[in-house]
């Protein structure tokens, strides 16, 4: 059936979709957001104490994608047969209103400006030959100065807590010395450092690094954002990642944007609407709307629109482009096409230190976005010349609150027994007296790491699954090993009684069975060249100009920082230019 026409269709009700919906309704457009999951509101999902039931929540994946309906297939290398990702582990895409923005932690970075033009910067500093064979190093075609107003806007919407370094060129606080200049302060002061983070802060400074409190979209105080949406003060309960914050303290589309949208008659939200494809006209140069499956009635519905925003999770964006025939699919052999190219991830390894029994770290305390980090080994902040790799990692103590089941499954760590009394004693010691330090680093793009449609497996709707071809590469493994080696002096300085350093091993393959991070990126990257990017600098499809693809899918490389802040800034950046340029003169905003 045909459900009529709306000005703009937005696919996915996460951060990117909510931002675009807000901006486009402000511009006067009627907007329909299609979300395949359930509606979610704090009153229901955050209903205390059921909201912090770990078994029902993170363990049974209450807010995550239901893989029994659709998933991805994964293989490490081109010669292998990919098999379906049937059990959530390595990464956790969200489902339902809010998407991954509802169950995220809240670490809210901007971007390291050097990362936006990493190819140019590496060449300028180390020469073209420094880039390894097969690495698709690329620039974003947007600068930090251009994005700054949109980072600022996003922080004000998110109610971000943090301490600045400089504002308009003047020292304004004890924030990250490597952070780029800001036009304004954070809307809220930084979250308090938990004990473990404060130890790290002192020790890291003592060994010559530059520690700072993480910018967090966890509210350090009550806050009302520019949309009138309210946040409560975080109480460090530790139920951020994987949960809907019952205190309204963690920013989410549900808490920070949707309340305003729900008051707007121009806004329509349709849940349980699984988009099957974006409909194109006969010459595939224009989108006419979308076809979705109404999951309540199992009927296909077509909805027409002048503008289609694809703003689902990173790999769903790519999947939908491939299913719809938007742009040319990437072929790694011929090295042609762009959709699926530069699929990237992040490297993350978690090392642990045990402190004397007089030091209580109490791992149950925490906030997902809070902690203390150093950027001394991130981006281009250090000399890669003698090291021979591209990329880097922030290093941090991000005590997000260890939940009982996850902590027990993770075990006490180190060389502790795996059962019996020794196991229990070690668990208690670890839970009370240890802390973890992450190296949360970049992941470069490679010619043979990519996304395409799986030739074998289909989803519950008879569409081919998306196939991931992904493994770790030597450049990123060596980067991780180097950064982890720089953690050791901090551990010693903290007075650790013992510690275990975790790093990627040489030749290690990507293992989907262990949680790493949900920070997937790329596949529909932005750039200046339509031969190597799927969308232009405004996130507009080069091939179908009334389609915009918003999300981490636009990242040409996986960066060391958490992606949400960058996704939000890109969403506001794109929306601003849709409002000021595209709507006045629909068509390509950059000539190919």
């Amino acid at each position: 059936m045909n459900a009529g026409k709306t000005d703009a269709i937005i696919i996915g009700a996460g951060w990117a979709g909510a931002i675009l919906a807000k901006e486009l309704t402000e511009a006067g457009l009627s907007v329909t957001v299609l979300e395949r999951g359930d509606d979610r509101a704090t009153a229901v999902e955050g209903d205390y104490p059921g909201s912090i039931d770990e078994l029902r929540g993170a363990i049974r994946h209450r807010l995550f994608q239901n893989l029994s309906q659709t998933t991805v297939t994964i293989r490490n290398t081109i010669g292998q047969v990919a098999v379906p990702y049937r059990r959530l582990a390595a990464f956790l895409p969200g489902e339902g209103v809010g998407g991954a923005g509802l169950h995220w932690s809240g670490v809210h970075f901007r971007v390291a400006p050097d990362d936006l033009a990493l190819r140019s910067n590496v060449i300028a500093r180390y020469g073209r030959n420094f880039i390894p064979e097969g690495m698709n190093l690329q620039d974003y075609d947007v600068t930090y100065e251009e994005l700054e107003p949109f980072f600022d806007k996003a922080e004000k919407v998110f109610g971000t807590s943090g301490e600045p370094h400089t504002i308009k060129g003047k020292i304004a606080g004890k924030g990250n010395t490597f952070a780029p200049d800001r036009s304004d302060a954070f809307p809220l002061p930084a979250m308090k450092d938990v004990y473990s983070a404060s130890l790290f802060k002192t020790a890291a400074a003592n060994v010559g690094y530059h520690p700072y409190s993480l910018p967090a979209a966890n509210a350090s105080a009550p806050y009302t954002n520019p949309y009138g949406a309210q946040m409560g003060p975080c109480n460090f309960c530790g139920y951020c990642s994987g949960y809907d914050c019952y205190m309204y303290s963690k920013a989410s589309p549900n808490v920070n944007i949707l309340p305003a949208l729900r008051q707007d008659p121009k806004f329509t939200l349709i849940t349980k609407a699984h988009v099957l494809k974006v409909n194109l006209d006969s010459d595939r140069k224009k989108a006419t709307g979308v076809t979705y499956l109404d999951l309540r009635t199992n009927r296909q519905v077509s909805l027409d629109a002048d503008l289609v925003i694809i703003s689902a999770f990173q790999f769903h964006n790519v999947h939908l482009m491939l299913l719809s025939g938007i742009g040319r699919p990437y072929d790694p052999i011929a090295n042609t096409g762009t959709v699926g190219r530069n699929f990237v991830y992040q490297t993350i390894t978690t090392s642990r230190a045990w402190l004397p029994s007089t030091h209580y770290t109490n791992l149950f305390v925490g906030a997902g976005g809070a902690g203390v980090a150093i950027d001394d080994f991130n981006s281009m902040n250090f000399d890669h010349g003698p090291l021979g790799f591209v990329g880097g990692s922030p290093v941090w103590v991000n005590q997000a609150g260890a939940k009982p089941i996850a902590a027990a499954i993770g075990g006490p760590g180190g060389k502790a027994p795996t059962w019996g009394e020794g196991y229990k004693d070690a668990m208690v010691e670890t839970y009370r007296h240890s802390l973890t330090i992450d190296a949360h680093g970049s992941n470069m793009a490679y010619r043979d790491v990519y996304l395409d449609l799986d030739p074998t497996y289909t989803d519950a709707y008879a569409q081919p699954l998306l196939r991931m071809t992904f493994t770790w590469k030597d450049n990123d493994i060596r980067m991780n090993q180097y950064v982890v080696s720089r953690i050791e002096p901090i551990m010693k300085e903290m007075g650790a009684t013992r510690y275990s350093l975790a790093k990627l091993e040489t030749g290690e393959l990507f293992d989907t069975r262990r949680y790493q991070t949900t920070h997937l990126g790329g596949g529909a990257v932005m750039g200046a060249d339509p031969k190597t990017s799927a969308v232009n600098r405004y996130l507009q499809s080069w091939d179908v100009p009334n389609v915009f693809v918003i999300g981490a899918s636009a990242f040409p490389q996986g960066m060391g920082y958490n992606p949400t802040g960058m996704v939000a800034a890109l969403a506001y950046w794109s929306a601003y230019h849709i409002r000021t340029i595209y709507l006045k003169n629909p068509g390509p905003m950059v000539q190919a």
């Binding site: 009153a43 009138g228 409560g232 309960c237 309204y248 309340p259």
Partner: protein, 469 residues
């Protein structure tokens, strides 16, 4: 889906006038300004709250109102033949202001016609124009009330009307009244029908006073309705609004939340569907009028904050107080150890009138069932409190309610028992009757009065996130 429907309902109310005019282009349709004015008067009277079923079409009736003698359903007031399509202005006026239906029988006084009886001719003309030309006709038959004979007879209602409803007369302010105060009085006592809930009722469930000439009893706080107690709107410093400024009242009615209070219970619907749409001038007028009411003798003296409660909670020394122990574990993260809450989100409990009002039913009810701050155009966040009916025992809830009613300088009586809580939780019975000695059951002959024990007047909330309520 619920949100979509809500949105559509809101749009329907807002734009029905325009679309109808555009399509029907009726020759004798009154001018748009009159219809718009009528739409606003309908907001003032909050007609939609009772005359719309949960997720139903606007004004098509069908809201379920349970009473001790059976279930009443609100009626279709759209201009359809099932509704009031055949009503002349005079018949419409007879129903709204006199309580007499077109067929001559008397309305249940669930319809607050004693208050509406003072509405002006101008407002009534506008309201009629809106209902005839600005509301979409809905062909939805009225649901028969589920009341069996002999209680189903309506003739006693006519006696009640004769005894208790005032002779309808257009509101005229007392000579020399400040025009802003006069406008506020009209809104509060007329279309706003605030007294329907906020004024205690007498032996036959009639409001004991319909305006300030009735003395201290006027707006002195009502009996529980759906286990929510409408508190006093008089200037009592502890149980009334004595500590509230005109600004506080203005923002409370506009947004549902101020630094020291947040709307919940039955009033949440009122803010969500009615007062948030009032003009700033009208809200200011109501605030000024309420603050201008004559002083009343303080029921509980004055309020002084006591720091000892916060000291005890900060120190974690709750072993001797089971209520404080529950508070520290379940309540303190939002309402804080100092009982101060979080401004505009989690209301304070220290010195909050609804906490210390004589009848503890509201407090027990919100702890058992939770509540949601209604989203408004000026404060869109629907902030929820979870219900603890399933996670705390009746004894724990009684303990924590008693603790809250006596902590931080609150001096309400700590007399809630586990049996009271269990009764409310399991049967829906209020903890106690009216704070001003209002009866919980009326004169048997005059049975069909609203607002007493066993009545559920608006169990189906229209505002906010209704799954949670």
């Amino acid at each position: 889906m619920v949100n979509r429907m809500l949105n559509r309902l809101k749009v329907a109310i807002g734009t029905a006038a325009f679309s109808l005019l555009a399509t029907a282009a009726m020759a004798q349709a009154p001018d748009q300004a009159l219809i718009d004015k009528g739409a606003y008067v309908a907001r003032l009277g909050d007609c939609v709250a009772c005359h719309t079923a949960l997720h139903g079409q606007a004004y098509a009736g069908g809201l379920e109102i349970k009473s001790p003698i059976g279930t009443i359903y609100s009626t279709n007031i759209t201009p359809d033949s099932n509704g009031i399509g055949g009503y002349s202005f005079e018949e419409f006026d007879q129903a709204v202001r006199h309580g007499i239906r077109k067929d001559g029988s008397t309305l249940y006084p669930a319809m607050p016609y004693p208050a509406f009886s003072r509405m002006t001719q101008d407002d009534m003309r506008a309201l009629y124009a809106y209902f005839m030309h600005g509301v979409k006709p809905v062909a939805q038959p009225n649901k028969a009330n589920e009341i069996s004979w002999p209680m189903s007879m309506r003739w006693p209602l006519a006696i009640w009307r004769t005894l208790f409803a005032p002779a309808p007369a257009e509101f005229k302010p007392a000579a020399g009244t400040d025009p802003v105060v006069a406008r506020g009085e009209y809104l509060v006592t007329g279309p706003g029908h605030c007294g329907a809930c906020h004024t205690p009722r007498g032996f036959a469930m009639q409001e004991k006073a319909l305006d300030a000439t009735g003395g201290a009893v006027f707006l002195a706080g009502g009996a529980p309705i759906d286990n929510w107690v409408a508190p006093s709107l008089r200037n009592d410093p502890v149980v009334g609004i004595g500590s509230w400024s005109e600004d506080d009242l203005y923002y409370f009615l506009k947004t549902g939340r101020i630094d020291h209070s947040a709307v919940f219970g039955g009033m949440a619907d009122v803010v969500g569907w009615s007062t948030q749409y009032f003009t700033d001038d009208d809200l200011r007028a109501m605030a000024k009028y309420l603050k201008s009411l004559p002083p009343v003798p303080p029921a509980q003296g004055s309020y002084t904050y006591e720091a000892s409660t916060a000291d005890m909670l900060n120190a974690g020394k709750t072993a001797s107080s089971p209520g404080a122990d529950v508070y520290l574990r379940e309540c303190a993260i939002c309402h804080r150890n100092d009982g101060g809450g979080v401004a505009r989100m989690f209301p304070p409990l220290a010195g909050n009138p609804v906490v210390v009002t004589e009848n503890p039913t509201s407090l027990v009810n919100v702890v058992v069932h939770g509540g949601v701050l209604p989203p408004t155009n000026w404060a869109p966040s629907a902030v929820a409190m979870p219900g603890y009916g399933k996670t705390l025992s009746a004894q724990q809830i009684a303990d924590v309610v008693n603790f809250i009613r006596t902590g931080w300088g609150n001096h309400a009586s700590a007399n809630v028992t586990a049996a009271d809580v269990a009764k409310l939780r399991d049967t829906g019975a209020p903890v106690a009757g009216g704070g001003f000695g209002a009866p919980t059951s009326g004169w048997p002959l005059l049975h069909p009065q609203p607002y007493g024990a066993g009545w559920t007047f608006a169990p189906q909330t229209h505002a906010g996130v209704d799954q949670a309520q």
